[in-house]
């Protein structure tokens, strides 16, 4: 396997423009002769499907939801970054690029990140044209807020529902194209395999979740926009159905998996309340604009927060990172919370929590302003915890939120399987080892609206505009394999539910491949996961049938893939003997507990190639070359 990033030559700022001119075009009359499958309809999938249809390609779009509007992008709260410099505070494309590279702890590809920063500007224009109701000032201009890891205000927002509004914008364009006949929509279909013919992605196997029918679909190219794999940890802020099956199946068909161990643990989530917990709820990072994070100075201080006087509180982020304070990046904030809780200074019944306190902000700005900024978040918090954050500080704790890793893609967003493109969180490309807040929405839309419409042409122009042979034996073989895999799950009839295996996997991952990792723990985790996989395939009890709506079967098939992916994540974390961004290896830290990178040995993308179920995956390295930024130790102090 050869990793060719296909990054264009030339100066950084001109690469994308040059590339857009250099790529081959498909003539307008020929576009309708090409079919494209888009899997997923979150920000990346919906924007890609709508835009490709507008260009004239025939698009089939598949989602497992009952409507494309339900994709998990909808849950993003805080905002979307763009280098508009509307606030006149010194922002620029170069600064957004630099912040993103630095925030990613110098483990992302320069050219991709620069392009992302360039496209950010057009995304806001496009969204406004679609009627996305961003927050406005009284004069009618757009409003901005600040976000972690940046010292300028460049985040655009629609109350605490920015993801929802951007998704509904893309969804509306998608529905417009469905009505026009350019997109054929397949709701409640789950992709279960990628079909590869003569080394090129030529279609998918999908199961109709209502009738249970296993069907195959052919196309000239397949776009995977299926989101991240944070649910490996069972408890995460991802939606319950978010899963890795599409990208994992593509991996098993030859797509390399990039940096699987880079996981983002978000610092501000509502703490776990008990064993029944099914998922974790994020409280937007934007809250850290006005909330102050603290714990008691004394260990085991069980007094109510209001009883603890000012001088007995430790505002640890402000103390350790005075220049960024409560807006330190996510990885640093999360780890700091873990440290103070490990020291026995955590709050709440479990001791796994820290305070996020708004009392100063309410004093300064008034309750009304705070309610305008965060009203819906405060309500959500109160509903879940039965506590009023206007009166008592919120309790928060880190939770798995985002996966920077994903399928390896080149500058054109194509994976190592030609014809299989990967967009949004599902790819590894732009965030390095840590993603800054308000950058996920930006990347999903950049990929879908402004990158793939250009780069896919370069691939399709090399194909003859003739229909894909949907009767090729590879289609039937892949469908048969899928059917056999599902039948096998149903035939085991063991003693444990699929969810019980998922919880167990999640616990292993959280304990040993979570916020802090070490060699011994990761090696143990790999052994434990292998044993878990063994037990799963002999002792799972799946109730349902292939040929009808069977939610337990859906869960079981996803858990089976999560178990395998979990092992790969641990393997990647074990091999990367340095700390960077979301990957913190306890053996590699500075004296004051900060991440210690090893640029000489590890400034590369780790791309893993599948080599068989029992064999160890093969590691390939894409060296990261920095021509425009100087590798430095991140400092937010």
């Amino acid at each position: 396997m050869e990793l060719n990033s296909k990054v264009p030559a030339g100066p950084l700022a001109g690469k994308w423009d040059k590339h857009k001119f250099d790529v081959k075009l498909v003539n307008p009359a020929n576009k309708r002769k090409y079919e494209v499958i888009v899997v997923g309809a979150g920000l990346a999938g919906a924007s890609a499907a709508a835009t490709l249809s507008e260009l004239g390609y025939r698009v089939k779009c598949f989602v497992y939801h009952d409507s494309p509007r339900r994709a998990h992008s909808i849950a993003a709260q805080g905002g979307i970054n763009a280098a508009k410099n509307y606030q006149n505070d010194g922002d620029s494309i170069h600064r957004l690029f630099y912040d993103t590279i630095k925030g990613g702890d110098f483990r992302a590809r320069e050219a991709n990140v620069y392009r992302l920063a360039q496209n950010s500007v057009s995304i806001i224009d496009q969204a406004v044209a679609q009627g996305v109701p961003f927050a406005r000032e009284y004069g009618g201009l757009l409003s901005n807020r600040s976000f972690g890891g940046a010292q300028v205000s460049r985040t655009f927002y629609a109350r605490g529902q920015t993801g929802q509004q951007l998704l509904l914008g893309a969804y509306a364009q998608l529905e417009k194209e469905i009505a026009r006949g350019g997109v054929e929509m397949f709701n409640q279909y789950e992709m279960l395999d990628l079909v590869v013919v003569d080394g090129h992605a030529r279609g998918i196997v999908a199961r109709n979740l209502v009738t249970g029918a296993i069907e195959t679909y052919a196309a000239h190219a397949v776009l995977l926009a299926t989101g991240g794999y944070g649910n490996v940890f069972y408890l995460s802020t991802n939606a319950k159905h978010s899963n890795a099956t599409a990208i994992w199946r593509a991996y098993k068909r030859g797509a390399a998996f990039g940096n699987p161990c880079y996981t983002q643990i978000h610092p501000t989530c509502i703490p776990v309340s008990g064993d029944h917990q099914s998922k974790l709820t994020l409280m937007s990072e934007s809250l850290r604009n006005d909330g102050r994070v603290w714990v008691p100075k004394k260990q085991g201080d069980k007094r109510a927060p209001g009883q603890i006087p000012e001088d007995e509180r430790d505002y640890y982020l402000e103390r350790r990172y005075p220049s960024f304070g409560n807006l330190a990046p996510r990885d640093i904030s999360s780890r700091s919370a873990k440290y103070v809780c490990d020291e026995g200074r955590g709050v709440g019944d479990t001791g796994l929590g820290v305070y996020l306190d708004f009392s100063d902000a309410i004093k300064r700005l008034g309750k009304k302003t705070i309610a305008e900024r965060y009203g819906n978040l405060f309500e959500m918090y109160q509903r879940i915890t039965d506590e009023d954050p206007y009166e008592v500080p919120m309790r928060i704790y880190p939770a798995v939120h985002y996966t920077m890793g994903g399928l390896w893609v080149d500058y054109n967003l194509m994976s190592t399987v030609p014809g299989c493109f990967v967009l949004g969180e599902a790819n590894f490309s732009d965030h390095g080892a840590n993603r800054l807040g308000a950058s996920a929405l930006m990347q999903g839309l950049s990929d879908g609206y402004f990158v793939i419409p250009y780069t896919i042409g370069d691939y399709l122009a090399g194909l003859k505009p003739q229909p894909v042979d949907a009767a090729a034996p590879e289609f039937r073989a892949a469908a048969d394999e899928t059917r056999a895999r599902l039948q096998k799950l149903l035939s085991i009839k063991g003693k444990r539910t699929p969810t019980s295996f998922h919880r167990q996997l999640g616990k292993i991952m959280w304990d040993k491949c979570g916020m802090a990792r070490n060699r011994a723990g990761l090696a143990e985790a790999i052994t434990e996961i292998r044993a878990l996989r063994e037990e799963f395939w002999t002792n799972v009890n799946v109730i349902g049938e292939v040929g009808s709506l069977s939610q337990q079967l859906e869960i079981a098939a996803r858990v089976a893939d999560f178990i395998e992916l979990g092992e790969l994540m641990c393997r990647d974390a074990l091999h990367r003997e340095e700390s960077c961004g979301g990957h913190f290896r306890e053996e590699y830290q500075t004296e004051d507990g900060e991440a210690l990178r090893n640029d000489d040995a590890f400034a590369y993308v780790a791309a893993w190639e599948y080599a068989g179920d029992q064999a160890e995956p093969r590691l390939h390295k894409e060296p990261l070359e920095y021509e425009n930024v100087k590798l430095s130790t991140r400092s937010y102090k």
């Binding site: 806001i124 406004v128 109701p133 709701n187 939606a239 319950k240």
Partner: protein, 257 residues
């Protein structure tokens, strides 16, 4: 807490359904309503029984997947709250709870508590968008939108498309859903060019899908987890009236030579 559940079970779209009774002995007040269903389903699977099928995903009250009629109220007793955000502390030890799917002609039942809501997507397809193909948008700050207009648009745009308004309406009307979209786009300058065409096509699609008419019961706004106001319906009706009065036939197309 001990909770007795009477849950609608129906094997498929054509099958007959009935209420089945289940008792859960250890329900924590901190559980969400759906987490209680998770516990029920784990118990059913362990006993070798078919678990209850229900729609859910984000569990943060934003994706609009969850849909349960709880004691006759869409999304249950708590105002402005989707089923997934309802917690068991809203109930007390020993309570009996009846759980049914959304019931409306336009929402056929697929299985147990899962219904087909694709009719709502088709209403959007009929015109619930601003035609803005990707590319060529002008600078976002060139369009000035007064804050009150942006806020009103956002109030209406908060709709999560769950269909509670339909389930709560004695006429099974989708007026609140449709009006929310019309109101969102109608408050914005970008939405003006298609404003009157949009209201005609969306309302027509609502009728085609078999939703009932609005007779202003107001149940929809009581059930709405996002507290969308029926003022949006008045706005839709005003636009509809104006559109029907001023509607002109589409100009005949003249082909270029």
């Amino acid at each position: 807490m001990k909770i007795t559940l009477h849950v609608w079970r129906q094997a498929g779209p054509k099958a007959a359904g009935k209420l089945e009774t289940y008792t859960l002995g250890h329900v924590s007040p901190d559980m969400s309503f759906l987490e209680m269903f998770d516990v029920l389903n784990e118990e059913l699977v362990e006993a070798g029984k078919e678990p209850v099928a229900f729609s859910h995903d984000c569990r943060e009250g934003i994706c609009g997947s969850c849909a349960m009629m709880i004691n006759g109220a869409a999304h249950g007793p708590m105002k402005g709250t989707a089923t997934c955000q309802l917690h068991m502390r809203s109930f007390k030890d020993g309570d009996e709870i009846w759980v049914e799917p959304w019931r409306a002609r336009a929402f056929p039942i697929l299985k147990d508590l899962v219904v087909d809501r694709s009719a709502l997507d088709r209403i959007i397809q009929a015109g619930g968008y601003i035609s803005a193909n990707t590319g060529g948008a002008r600078d976002a700050n060139e369009i000035l939108i007064p804050k009150p207009d942006a806020d009103s648009a956002m109030d209406a745009a908060a709709c999560i498309g769950c269909g509670a308004c339909v389930a709560a309406c004695p006429n099974a009307s989708a007026s609140l859903f449709t009006a929310a979209k019309i109101s969102h786009l109608g408050h914005l300058p970008q939405g003006q060019p298609e404003r009157f065409r949009r209201v005609l096509t969306m309302v027509e699609q609502m009728d085609i899908e078999g939703f009932g008419h609005c007779t202003l019961y107001g149940e929809c706004q009581e059930a709405c987890p996002k507290l969308i106001s029926i003022d949006t319906i008045s706005r839709m009706n005003r636009d509809y009236l104006k559109a029907t009065l001023t509607k002109r036939p589409e100009p005949t197309v003249e082909y270029a030579g």
